[in-house]
Symmetry: C2
DNA sequence: TTCATTTCTTAAACCAGCTTAATTTTTTAT
DNA sequence: ATAAAAAATTAAGCTGGTTTAAGAAATGAA
């Protein structure tokens, strides 16, 4: 049951079988088809989502009505609008499956209860969040030091699995490029 | 003793006086003059730093030998290269005081011990890190939806204290602009 | 107060990456 | 299978922001 989820947690903290049984009480498994939504703009992000299987994107609609993708999540990644989740603010984002997916959701109230009951989970999320900060520091550094062309090439070589699974226009959006420019860059490389 | 530090923690978790006394055993206070370094490129980021008073910047040297500033921290902010701190990797960054500052440092080993002894601190850092993720999601969204001119104007109106305290060329660097362009934008606004 | 250093400004030429618009290819649903 | 919709390509013209190079103004140390 949820093998990715459990082994991901056990990579960072010790958790005996009894605690695992208790932990599972707090989560809601969701089976979703392609293009289904977990969050829509204007709603409060009530849950954080773990991708047991499949792939999610988070995006917002900009002033020219483009879908601007700010994050992807595939297996073993968490997804949430943390600002909305922490402070109960309406979110500007939409969260949507890209493929058929199995998602584990924990809502805010149960999340707090779970952390009180299982201190190892407080530790797990401290580590996960600190790693998320580290990852965003790194990505941020790349945006300072690379041109958009370099950023695109870097992404391609660093995450080939992604490039296989996700349409090109979505990668363009995530990297802050126009689909036309990405097309030009691909042509250039051949 | 360290009033900003203690009240910042008590904003997020309950901490009795005995725990505060224990907590203080783990931290090293540093009094630093203007332009002193806490970290230099190639070193491992051994500590995380809390700004009790003063102001820090984190930057790296890019391929054109520019100092690229990626983060500032003033009172009540934490500063670290988390990737280096978590995984003991040499850091590409330098961390330096902009003004005379009072910094509280916790090194990696003591950090782990402290979290074991004081579970409230594990909770505090989970919250702090989750808020840091929220902040970086927000900043990231701005870079997708704003032009560089808008980003500059937004920063000015959102953080006027910063603009007072920090030289203009450092703000330009942080925002990914040339000092020349910032100068042009200021002229335009008058 | 003065000098040396740091910071800020001005202006012209330049270009990486965007916009617009039309066409082709691929994918999805029935 | 087939039609419709979604995704990718091509190409020309354009612009927001950089680069380069000097000079002016502000600041800190002695």
């Amino acid at each position: 049951m949820y093998p990715n989820f459990i082994s991901h947690i056990r990579k960072y903290v010790k958790l005996d079988d009894h605690s695992v049984a208790r932990l599972i009480q707090y989560i809601s498994p969701l089976k979703l088809k392609r293009k289904e939504f977990l969050l829509k703009e204007g709603q409060i992000c009530q849950s954080i989502y773990f991708v047991e299987k499949g792939c999610l994107r988070m995006f917002f609609i900009d002033d020219k009505l483009n879908e601007q993708i700010t994050q992807f999540a595939l297996e073993n990644w968490w997804m949430a609008d943390h600002f909305s989740f922490l402070d109960n603010k309406p979110s500007p984002y939409l969260i949507q499956t890209i493929e058929k997916s199995e998602i584990l959701a924990i809502n805010k109230t149960l999340f707090e209860e779970m952390l009180r009951e299982l201190p190892q989970m407080e530790r797990y999320f401290r580590i996960i969040m600190q790693r998320a900060v580290a990852a965003s520091q790194l990505r941020n550094k790349f945006t300072y030091e690379m041109s958009k062309e370099e950023f695109y090439q870097h992404f391609n070589t660093s995450f080939p699995e992604f490039v296989q699974r996700v349409p090109q226009y979505m990668i363009a959006s995530y990297l802050g490029l126009t689909p036309q420019y990405v097309s030009e860059l691909r042509k250039k490389k051949l």
